[in-house]
Structures are given as structure tokens and as C-alpha cells.
């Protein structure tokens, strides 16, 4: 009984965004973080592990330095990680990425009671496509925007958070669930995790390992094979940071006066 979580290492967009000549992100020159929604998916998986004893396996596609992120996830409690990495996979769009990840997950294998999870979307591309596309390619049911997950045998009850309300859906495993930040508060690593994670299992799946899988079509992976191409990337002009004070009493105005005084505005 396991939960597979797909995660992505993304540029820390609170820093400066750099772009290559071909329009793709210059990831090498930017600080990276674990995509925030993916952390919520990992937390959901770890909570289910705490309760039901699942094994949690994380998959990511990316360059070799993504190992640092995978070690960090194992320090949080993930049992095993798989790094899908090859030159041929570089520059893939969501269509190509989901094809490769689906092939990797299928190669690893999943059973009747297994769950696949992903973050809703990555903060670099904001597409929210990879999770659902993996589900389609693996012919699995999918439930997106999960804000709450309950398990009863082979059936999950998922609360989908939508703009104007919520929807409760029952789904049979195996299935794909995409998670949003309202689902939970991701845990920290443990001290023992930071000691142990370096000896935990990390498998690398390269092009050789996946090229014969039926989902892999060499002409539709990587930058050249991706149907979408980036026309232009740029950093939007920065907006001033705002601050919202709640309440209409004297306490709030006093707080406002305090802040303005502290900043020497008044």
C-alpha cells in the first residue's frame, strides 16, 4: 500500500527570475525551492502514512541537483524517492513531462490500493496540467483541488475546493489527487531525518530505463518534442507590498499609528 507523490523543484520566485535565450527559465542561476503545492501533497501523503501505514514514494523529473530536494523530503518522512533525469527530457512542456512521469510511475508499478498525488500547480508555469495529464495517460480517475481527503477502504472521499463552493467526491483507488495549500500545513524535517536521509533509497530513472515504455515517444519529449513553445518570458514590474489591518476599533488605529511611527512616516 503506497502513495506516489510527484513533486517539482521550482525557482524561488521571491528572488530574481532569469531567462535563457530560448525563453525557458535559467534554472541554474536561480535559488530553488520545493513547489509549495507539492509540499501540501507530500504532507497529505505523510498524514495518511501516519494513520494507515502507507509507504510514501516521491517522483520528480529534473536535473541531478534535484537530489537535494529529494533528500529533504526523506528528512520529512518520505520513504523512497525516484529522480527521473536525462538530457533527452530537458525542456519538456507539460504534455511531454506528464508522458515521461506517467511512464516512470508505470515502470515503478502501482496497485489497487495505491494513490498518486500531486500539487495543484507549480509556481513557475502555473499550468495545473501535469497531475491531470499523468492520470489520463495512466487511465486513472482524478480529483483535483483537494482540500480534504478521507479514506474508507479502497474509497477516498475528497472535498474539492472550488471558487464558489466545494464539491464532495468519492473515488476508488488507484487514483490521482491534486492538492491545494488549504489542505494542510506541511511539516518540517526532523533532526533525525536530516541525519538518516542521506542513506535512504534514491533511484535514478534515465532515458535508457524508460525509452522502451509504450508511453514514451522520442519525438514528443524534451524541448524539441514539446508541442508548446515559450515565446517570451519576463519579470513583471514589482508592485509595492501592501499590508491589511483588520478591525474597526481604536485598537486597529493605534496599531496603524504604531506602524507608521515605527517607519518614521509620521
Amino acid at each position: 500500500m503506497k502513495i506516489i507523490v510527484t513533486v517539482k523543484q521550482v525557482p524561488d520566485t521571491s528572488g530574481k527570475v532569469a531567462v535563457n535565450a530560448d525563453g525557458t527559465l535559467d534554472r541554474a542561476s536561480m535559488q530553488t525551492i520545493i513547489n509549495p503545492d507539492d509540499l501540501n501533497a507530500v504532507e497529505a501523503a505523510l498524514s495518511l502514512k501516519d494513520e494507515y501505514g502507507y509507504k510514501v514514494v516521491v517522483f520528480t523529473m529534473g536535473p541531478a541537483p534535484a537530489e537535494g530536494m529529494l533528500r529533504e523530503l526523506m528528512a520529512m518522512g518520505v520513504d523512497e524517492t525516484v529522480l527521473v533525469s536525462a538530457r533527452q527530457f530537458g525542456g519538456s512542456d507539460t504534455y511531454a513531462t506528464s508522458q515521461i512521469l506517467a511512464a516512470a510511475i508505470d515502470t515503478y508499478g502501482f496497485d489497487d490500493e495505491d494513490i498518486i498525488m500531486a500539487g495543484r500547480q507549480a509556481i513557475d508555469g502555473d499550468t495545473a496540467q501535469v497531475g491531470p495529464q499523468i492520470a489520463e495517460k495512466l487511465h486513472l480517475p482524478q480529483v483535483t483541488y483537494a482540500g480534504d481527503i478521507k479514506k474508507d477502504g479502497k474509497v477516498l472521499t475528497v472535498k474539492r475546493m472550488l471558487e464558489d463552493g466545494y464539491m464532495t467526491i468519492k473515488v476508488k483507488t488507484p487514483c490521482m489527487i491534486t492538492c491545494i495549500k488549504e489542505l494542510n500545513e506541511p511539516r518540517y524535517m526532523t533532526v533525525n531525518g536530516t541525519v538518516k536521509c542521506w542513506d535512504m533509497p534514491l533511484t535514478v530513472m534515465d532515458y535508457e530505463a524508460l525509452k522502451d515504455h509504450e508511453l514514451i515517444d522520442a519525438t514528443t519529449i524534451g524541448l524539441k518534442g514539446s508541442p508548446t513553445n515559450i515565446y517570451k518570458s519576463f519579470t513583471p514590474p514589482q508592485k509595492g507590498v501592501g499590508m491589511m489591518l483588520e478591525g474597526s476599533g481604536k485598537e486597529t488605529t493605534d496599531k496603524l499609528v504604531g506602524i507608521l511611527t515605527a517607519k518614521h512616516i509620521i
Partner: protein
């Protein structure tokens, strides 16, 4: 020193935790009430902080002295008082058991201490025995299969919330000075153990401190830790490790002073420009940065020596503690100076940093005691 991947990851954990969890509200509450905060204690315990340096076989996390130093540094960068929460079990509390405890004692006491379920504190200081710990007058007299303890320990950090205390007591009354002292672990709930009033301290207010009084307290012989009459040398060994922790906290607090000073110097305008533009201010910041970085390197170096079991490690801890605690105090002075009048107002963080810094050159061996240790290393 460039940290290896493991220690760099640990720094990330401690930094993220302290930045997110040590909120201004929590810090203000500790300052206002002076009370121990169980919620944050439990949360730190959940992630293993209480057992960072305790071996895994005794329920700890299996980190090393460098992990422990990085933890104290990163936690103290946000709040000195809260760094002490995680420090005690790894140093003065758990330390004597790790150094001198029997296998049975380690199995009994360390796991609940490492998990944060029980709090173990250290009682060496007495009203008449501070830097001169050899002046201990608390006694432990054998009586059948027991010892009877009488005496008073003072300035015991964490005593009001402690389950157990490690104490040092005279067991051979014929011996003078540091000889004839033994180390014991005492249950704080035993008849005859009582607490003095909470001390009103200048800083580190959310970690309560008080006297512990022993009146005919009967403890079984199994509570003797290490050999009879040889407790003093273990106290000194424990303090070596503790000094490393205080040195690391000093680096963290010093870094907090730099963080605040840099932010304020860029923000505050006088004579039509940020005060950072004036060399009188920027040079103070340069001094702080150079000194705290030097202190950090001394701390990491001492930690690596401790981990390697190097015989020079104890001396390195004293050097690190002496330099880092003094550097932190200089940094706190400068941070307040850069803030001018605002630095003297409690609403500004540097006011608390300045008060908190003051304990660093006092507890676990004053700067002057560290100088004695360092000088003795050269001259004797």
C-alpha cells in the same frame, strides 16, 4: 568552514523552524509573563530538537556537536530564551548522563529527556559557590542503601518546570575544594525538595530560574552518576559541551544584532539620507559582521574538535565561548547605538537583544573563567 550537506540541511531546518514558529506574539508573551511555554516546547520536541545530540540508542536524534551548535545558533538568532529550551537536554541536562552515566541510567533517563517528555536540569551553582564550584557545601551523606542530601542550589535554569535535576554534592567532608564531590540525579518530586521564588531576571525571561532547596532528601544509591567523590571532573567536562552551546547562541544573537542594525540603518533617514551612508554607522556594522563571523568559525571549529574527540576540544570551547559572548555583547551595544533613542525603547527588538546578550558572558563560566582556562592551557 563550509558545512557539509548534512549540516547545511540541518541549518535549513532550524532556521525555517525558528523563523516561522518563534513569532513576535510568542516572544512578547514570554517577555511579559516570564512563564515557560509548553506549546513551543512540545513542538520543538516533536521535531527532535530536545534530542539533537543524544545518540539514537537512547531515543535521541543521532546528531553531533556541530548539529547542536548550528541548532543553538539558528534558534538564538530568533530568540535566545527559546534556544535554551532545546539546549538544556542536549548539554547540561543530558550531558552528565552521556559522559558518566551507567548503561542502566542512560536507558532510564535519556529517552524521556530526548523526547521532551521529561525535563532534566543542572544544579551546580550555590549561593557561595559560583565560579568557584569547588566551594560546594551541599552534602550527600550515605545512610544504608541511600544518600541523604542537604543544601541549596541557586540560579537553576528551568528548575520550576523540571522533573529531574543533576546535582553536585560533597560526599567526602574531609576533602577540601573540588575533591570529594559526587554527582547525583534527583527526582524533583521527592519529599524535602522545594523551590525558591522565580528570579526576576534582566533577560531570557521565558525560561524560569529559581533556587532548589534540599532538606533531608533521601535518594537511592543508584542515583549516583559516575564514580563516588569524582563528580567535579564530570561537571567540568559537561561544562565544556555547555560552553560550546552558549558560544553558538552568542553567534546567533550577534547575527540577530547585525540583521536588525542593517535593516534599520537602511531605513532610518537623517540629514536627508539613510544613516547607512554615514561611515560612523557603516563601520560599526562592518565590525559586528567581522567579529560575529570570526566567532562563528571558532564555534564550528570547536564543535568539529569535540566530534573528533580531540584533547584540545575543551580549550577550543572556552576560546569560542569567551570570544563569541564578548563579541555578541559588543554587537548588541552597537545595534542599540545604531538605533539611537529607538534602541532604548522596548518596542524595538534590539532592546531585548541587548538585555539578553548580557547573560552570555556570565552563565556556564564567566568570560573571566574562560580567560583563566585559556591562560592555564598556555602557562601550566
Amino acid at each position: 568552514m563550509i558545512l557539509d550537506k548534512k549540516h547545511a540541511l540541518q541549518r535549513k531546518l532550524f532556521r525555517e523552524f525558528a523563523e516561522n514558529e518563534f513569532t513576535k506574539e510568542l516572544q512578547d508573551e514570554l517577555e511579559a509573563t516570564g512563564e515557560f511555554n509548553w506549546d513551543i516546547h512540545n513542538k520543538m520536541a516533536k521535531y527532535g530538537f530536545m534530542g539533537t545530540k543524544i545518540p539514537e540508542v537512547y531515543g535521541g536524534q543521532g546528531g553531533d556537536y556541530l548539529s547542536y551548535a548550528i541548532m543553538d545558533e539558528e534558534l538564538a538568532r530568533q530568540n535566545l530564551c527559546l534556544s535554551i529550551y532545546a539546549n538544556t537536554s542536549n548539554s547540561l541536562g543530558g550531558g552528565p548522563l552521556m559522559i558518566a552515566g551507567s548503561e542502566e541510567q542512560k536507558q532510564k533517563y535519556l529517552p524521556p529527556v530526548a523526547s521532551g517528555e521529561k525535563i532534566l536540569v543542572f544544579g551546580l551553582t550555590e549561593p557561595g559557590a559560583g565560579s568557584d564550584a569547588g566551594g560546594t557545601t551541599t552534602t550527600a551523606i550515605p545512610d544504608g542503601d541511600d544518600f541523604i542530601i542537604n543544601g541549596r542550589k541557586c540560579f537553576i535554569s528551568g528548575a520550576p518546570v523540571a522533573d529531574w535535576i543533576i546535582i553536585f554534592a560533597k560526599t567526602d567532608l574531609t576533602k577540601k575544594g573540588s575533591r570529594g564531590i559526587s554527582m547525583f540525579i534527583v527526582d524533583m518530586n521527592l519529599p524535602g525538595v522545594s523551590l525558591g521564588a522565580h528570579e526576576k531576571k534582566m533577560g531570557i525571561k521565558g525560561y524560569p530560574t529559581c533556587d532548589v532547596v534540599f532538606e533531608d532528601v533521601r535518594i537511592p544509591k543508584e542515583n549516583l552518576i559516575g564514580p563516588l567523590h569524582k563528580g567535579f571532573q564530570y561537571a567540568m567536562k559537561t561544562l565544556d559541551g555547555g560552553r560550546l552551546g552558549v558560544a553558538a547562541m552568542s553567534v546567533g544573537l550577534g547575527q540577530a544584532c547585525i540583521d536588525e542594525a542593517v535593516k534599520y540603518a537602511k531605513e532610518r533617514k537623517q540629514f536627508g539620507r539613510p544613516i547607512a551612508d554615514f561611515q560612523g554607522v557603516s563601520f560599526m556594522i562592518a565590525d559586528m559582521e567581522a567579529e560575529i563571523e570570526a566567532a562563528r568559525q571558532l564555534v564550528y571549529h570547536a564543535a568539529v574538535l569535540k566530534d573528533a574527540g580531540d584533547p584540545e576540544a575543551g580549550l577550543a570551547c572556552s576560546k569560542a565561548k569567551y570570544f563569541a559572548a564578548e563579541a555578541a555583547n559588543r554587537a548588541a551595544y552597537k545595534a542599540v547605538q545604531i538605533h539611537g533613542g529607538y534602541g532604548y525603547i522596548a518596542e524595538y527588538r534590539v532592546e531585548r537583544l541587548y538585555r539578553d546578550a548580557r547573560i552570555l558572558s556570565i552563565f556556564e563560566g564567566t568570560s573571566q573563567i574562560q580567560q583563566v582556562v585559556i591562560a592555564n592551557g598556555l602557562l601550566k
